[in-house]
């Protein structure tokens, strides 16, 4: 998992407070649990957590705090979750190392 796609300290703190808040909804607590578990482990979010996060982000009734946690959960889901295959690219004008350098250069800037 890319380092910058782990749960940051700020979100982890928010998640911790949410879990201890008796007024927080079940959904928000689920998202908080998922986000918090990413702050110390290399696990990615589960399909269920990602689905919940997606619904939270698109729901008009979600709180700002819940949306923030949902964003974190989705980022963790997208990282390293792709089973992309390695295969030769015939006819490309670039070598594999040139493609890698270009992708990394732009990622570094972002």
């Amino acid at each position: 998992m890319p380092k910058n796609e782990r749960t940051g300290a700020k979100v982890a703190s928010k998640a911790s407070k949410t879990l201890r808040n008796s007024a927080a909804s079940k959904t928000t607590k689920s998202l908080a649990g998922s986000a918090l578990s990413q702050s110390r482990t290399k696990n990615k979010s589960s399909e269920r957590a990602a689905s919940l996060a997606s619904k939270t982000l698109t729901s008009k009734g979600s709180s700002k705090s819940a949306k923030s946690l949902a964003g974190s959960v989705l980022t963790q889901r997208s990282a390293s979750a792709f089973p992309v295959k390695s295969f030769a690219i015939i006819g490309s004008t670039l070598s594999k190392s040139e493609r890698s350098a270009a992708v990394r250069k732009v990622a570094k800037k972002k």
Partner: protein
């Protein structure tokens, strides 16, 4: 004469869709989604073998691909010749013909037929009635969902990421692609198919490595 056995690859997805500028966003999204789901896109835009005429190449792609996606959304008359494009329905006909006539090796091939809006294709291709066409409405997000869901259902693979994760990643990739092309001294507007596939593959692999 004995029929040669097709070398079917379980990861190959043959893409039969328009290669026009107005279709680019959908095309890029389709290629990205196929890669992100763990499959390999195949297209007539791939570099040809020496002396490989277009029809031979299409036949080879159909023979080798377990899956095929056919987008019939280009049924409108084109601006240049005032004629519809027949390539997509023609290649779909080849695949369905193989499924129906060419025996067991082809019968289990999976076919996804797309259109712009629901029931449009039936108006100009009534023989297609009874097939389950999917309408993408010209929206990459809808196309991503349709292609991902179809690959999950047809392949039975369990490790395919969710549609939100794939589309979020595609949104990031497409935003970065012009800069990536610039960093590689390529023109974004003139990006050729092998480079698109190579850069999308590399971008996805870098997500795990970074």
């Amino acid at each position: 004469m004995a029929r040669t056995k097709a070398a079917i690859n379980p990861d190959y997805v043959f893409i039969n869709c328009p290669f026009t500028t107005d279709y680019r966003a959908l095309f890029d999204c389709m290629v990205f989604t196929i890669l992100a789901c763990g499959f390999q896109p195949r297209s007539a835009l791939e570099a040809a073998d020496g002396g490989d005429v277009r029809m031979d190449k299409i036949v080879r792609l159909i023979k080798e691909s377990t899956y095929s996606i056919h987008d019939l959304s280009a049924v409108a008359l084109d601006d240049t010749n005032n004629l519809p494009r027949f390539n997509m329905p023609f290649e779909l006909g080849m695949v369905i013909g193989c499924k129906k006539i060419a025996g067991r090796a082809y019968a289990s091939r999976s076919v996804l037929i797309l259109e712009q809006t629901k029931y449009t294709s039936q108006k100009c291709l009534s023989d297609i009635a009874g097939q389950d066409l999917k309408a993408h409405g010209g929206q990459p997000q809808t196309l991503c969902r349709i292609v991902r869901s179809w690959l999950v259902a047809e392949s039975g693979r369990s490790k395919i990421p969710g549609q939100t994760a794939i589309f979020n990643a595609y949104t990031r990739f497409s935003a970065e692609l012009p800069d990536i092309c610039g960093a590689a001294d390529l023109e974004y507007e003139e990006l050729i198919y092998p480079d698109l596939v190579g850069l999308a593959q590399q971008w996805l692999q870098e997500q795990a490595k970074a």
